[in-house]
Symmetry: C2
Subunit: 182 residues, 2 copies
DNA sequence: ATGTCCATGTAATCCGTTACATGATTAT
DNA sequence: ATAATCATGTAACGGATTACATGGACAT
């Protein structure tokens, strides 16, 4: 499990509330490890029990109070231990492939629509990545943390670019099949 | 949820036992939708309750009896309904990215080892795909089901090829970072 | 002797999703 | 007025993983 580690890794950058973490998972680290705010709050409870974070309520006026979580030395140690062990292969789960597997039992027009939607979604992701790259990762910051984030953005951009290409190739192929079937 | 549909899709090709399905998920459709035998047996129970499959025990001597599951017309209908609805984006979950996100708190040598392992794993997958392609998908079968499987193999090959490329690029970049840090 | 293949499943735990719940502030 | 943002969580359910369990056949 790496949700707890993903949270600890975020807290290494700076102390954050559950709400901050949820936004971070929505905007940056979540591009590579998705999690909802419910998961995050539950996991924060576990991390507190294990002593990997300590939590402090900060009074605010006009807004609900924030509970800010800080990583402890034990938490930092847990990150080190986790990071030295090889992870598992990402688990594959893509309905589109399953639909292609069943091409004979599927409505072709619907499948083409779904392909178009998917291509769009990947293009949206890609342009988000590119915007972030231009804004934050084209400068001269040389810290390791900055470099790591720059590298995953580059990986993400390559991944999405390649996906768009092969999804378009698949679209071309089923269009060809349809014409041959007439 | 598409595990139930992935199973129904397999049973569209031919009736199978839970064991056969588990092997199929280990070898072909499972490249694109992973599932363990425990999940499959549980799901078969649900599918039987819903009337989407009917199950028949076949006596064998010397081996445990097989329970062979056949898709029903209601099951085929369920596949059609599912296939006409757009699926959701595949959920992203890759520990390697998380480790890069935390590049400053991670042991570099371990990370390089993990990268090497991952590159190996993707190369193994890729050569599996290529072997299957040569053996079964280089001929002249023109049926839709065959074409669908040929297309997902092509997509899988492109996906794995691109992954290997960007993982190697990432390896190159962290090696460069290390040298700059000396 | 040891291990792998065939073939079925149960039990416990953990992870992920959906829905529910509250309530003030600020922007349109 | 209406909606979005800030900020926290609980509850219920369903999916995924890991471990446990059985037992004969056959190969090394």
């Amino acid at each position: 499990m790496a949700l707890s580690e993903a949270i600890l890794v975020c807290l290494t950058d700076r102390p954050m509330s559950g709400y901050d973490l949820a936004k971070t998972f929505d905007a940056s680290i979540g591009f590579f490890w998705r999690a909802s705010h419910q998961q995050i709050y539950r996991e924060l409870g576990k991390l507190r029990e294990k002593g990997f974070v300590k939590s402090q309520e900060i009074a605010q006026s006009g807004k609900p109070n924030r509970i800010v979580h800080t990583i402890t030395p034990a938490g930092a140690e847990a990150v080190k231990v986790w990071s030295s062990k090889p992870g598992r292969m990402p688990s594959v789960k893509d309905e589109l492939f399953v639909k292609f597997y069943a091409l004979g039992s599927v409505d072709m027009d619907a499948l083409k629509d779904h392909l178009t939607i998917r291509i769009d979604q990947h293009q949206t992701k890609l342009s988000k990545y590119r915007k972030i790259q231009d804004r934050y990762y084209s400068g001269e910051d040389q810290s390791l943390n900055h470099a790591g984030k720059r590298i995953i953005l580059e990986m993400g951009i390559k991944e999405e670019t390649s996906r768009i290409e092969w999804l378009q190739a698949a679209m071309f192929e089923i269009t060809k099949l349809e014409q041959a079937g007439n």
